[in-house]
Subunit: 350 residues, 2 copies
DNA sequence: CTGAAAGCGCTTACAG
DNA sequence: CTGAAAGCGCTTACAG
């Protein structure tokens, strides 16, 4: 039994000047199992390289002593950590939460932890978070905007940290991204409303991030291609809430009472718009059609049920994480965009 | 300029057998500033102990070289990390997300990072996560159940890791907890319904965790004290969704058509119940009153607006983190429970 | 399949 | 206010 292991059993004198932490180390396990520390390390990381008999004795020693590996030491020695830094715009938005669930599920399988940063849709905040996280030597980054990507890629090649961009697809195939086309999704909603015969559709949005702007762009183009003129657009650079949806609908009606449909750039706004219609006795969809975005849990069971764009947000998280870990493992995966697509769920509200 | 710093400027030959990472270290900064590494370390951690002139030269060197501290090395050397492990039951529940926002805000101010674990309301999952996180030598834990607390406290005193329990209050003053009384909140809802004159209130719940059971217990007691008999209780051990609220309401009506009010153990269920009433043409609150729990964003602006219990979930996160950091800093804070209370928001639905 | 030596980049514990 | 030495607990890079 090693000196340190002994400390765990009887209060032996701590050597003068010692910094002993009392922690069980790989050295204690090695002594207990009668092998070298190096073999213990191998038994943990690459068991196939260790003789079965040694492996068994090592595992028994680990159990007996209650050994817990010290990640800080491993990270320092290998210059690689098992931590992935994830940056999302908001933590109060169900969409990103589900993406985090996907990330978590994949990383848990793969044996990684993750740090979550919330950028608040602000670029300087993003940069600050990246600096902070670099100190943790993360193995990789999962990001939700393109600028950060560039920051990481500008590092010297030897120190490059892999990154995958989520939600939106990169413009080129030069980097890794997983998502779907926001523009096409907006376009699809416009075409659907046109086909249903709505003449004066409005667009409302809050939390004006680049993705919202792409949905709007696609929506405009769709209306244009259908020969329809948008009734009105109301955009507010404030956080998205259900109540905000009610407010925006009021503004739409004030500005253009002829409006007969509204594309809400997310389901929170759509729910608020629906409640506002109910409050005013406006029939949905008879007098006003409502379309949302994301298919959050209430969209399908609202009265009336809400037409919305079903987005693959869980999958975006899961597959972004998978793409990142593949890179880390040096697997030969093609660079480029993974387009997971979207679906338009047509329901009662349109 | 040190050997390593030089490497960053010109591709000097890498010594045979070297493990140089190419990273700028505290040694490079020290050389650049003309002080010892120890002084650089002090300038970063305890600037007050370093002469202003040295400090300025050090900061200039840090800027010039682009030094980023290596947390793994710091953690290994000091046996303390700047990471807090947070365990919450679910990441798809807005309640816990807002709690995480509070935690994040306080920890960001205090210079800590955090790892988030999702227990899925399962005890074995909790224990497994604690083991995993212990390998990261977290400075402390923020937990949401009591069992884990005991696991951590059973460690030898010298290696004890501080923990604070969130949401629910501890039974005694022996440990740290921040939350409110779930039982009293349930009680308050019952008394409110009784005062409004409802005769046959039902209770519905999903995701049956201990907190739900306490709300139910309080609700029962409140009805009893008001001399009212509950119409029926429907509990399902499945995840909470809006649609589940609609299903549960249907079951209540099937089992007891006389029911005139329902206490939904959270707002997701309440929203689903409201939609189901609208679908069936059941007047709310005329024929059926609905009360929820948590005051999520839609409760106040639904049609009709939903009576609910306003819970201090952001504050629970913020103040739990504050309590934990106080402990870490060795500040003299009294052990015990911090009761943040709750509020009953009486609205149109009751 | 296994091990001895050196090193990762910090901080501790002294000593001045 | 400052610094030289040792050590935190692992993994790398060899060598067998």
């Amino acid at each position: 039994m090693s000196k340190r292991a002994a400390q765990n059993h009887k209060a032996s004198a701590i050597p003068k000047g010692s910094r002993a932490t009392g922690r069980v180390t790989i050295i204690d396990v090695a002594a207990e199992a009668g092998v070298s520390p190096m073999t213990v390390s191998r038994a943990l990381k690459t068991p196939a390289l260790v003789q079965e008999q040694s492996r068994e004795r090592i595992m028994a020693a680990i159990d007996k002593l209650g050994y817990v590996p010290n990640q800080a030491a491993a990270t320092l020695a290998s210059a690689r950590s098992q931590v992935i830094a994830v940056l999302v715009p908001s933590l109060t938005n169900a969409v990103f939460i589900e993406t985090l669930s996907g990330i978590r599920d994949y990383l848990a399988e793969a044996g990684y932890q993750f740090l979550i940063g919330e950028t608040g849709y602000a670029r300087d905040k993003e940069e600050q978070l990246i600096s902070t996280y670099l100190a943790h030597a993360p193995a990789g980054f999962l990001l939700s905007s393109s600028e950060q990507h560039e920051i990481l890629q500008s590092r010297p090649a030897s120190r490059a940290i892999p990154a995958v961009r989520m939600f939106d697809l990169g413009r080129s195939n030069d980097d890794f991204s997983v998502g779907f086309s926001q523009t096409k999704a907006g376009y699809a909603v416009a075409r659907h409303l046109a086909e249903r015969g709505y003449k004066r559709p409005a667009f409302i949005a809050a939390q004006l991030d680049p993705r919202m702007m792409k949905r709007r762009e696609g929506f405009r183009k769709g209306l244009q291609d259908a020969g329809i003129q948008s009734a009105v657009e109301v955009l507010l650079p404030l956080p998205t809430t259900v109540d905000m949806g009610a407010q925006l609908l009021r503004r739409v009606l004030d500005a253009n009472p002829d409006c007969d449909a509204v594309f809400c750039c997310n389901d929170d706004l759509a729910l608020g718009a629906l409640f506002e219609c109910q409050r005013r006795g406006i029939a949905v969809p008879g007098r006003m059609a409502i379309a949302g975005f994301n298919d959050l849990s209430w969209a399908a069971c609202a009265t009336p049920s809400i037409t919305t764009v079903v987005t693959p947000r869980y999958d975006i998280g899961y597959k972004s994480a998978r793409m990142l870990i593949s890179q880390l493992r040096g697997e030969d995966i093609p660079k480029g965009r993974l387009d997971l697509g979207f679906e338009l769920a047509v329901r009662e509200s349109t």
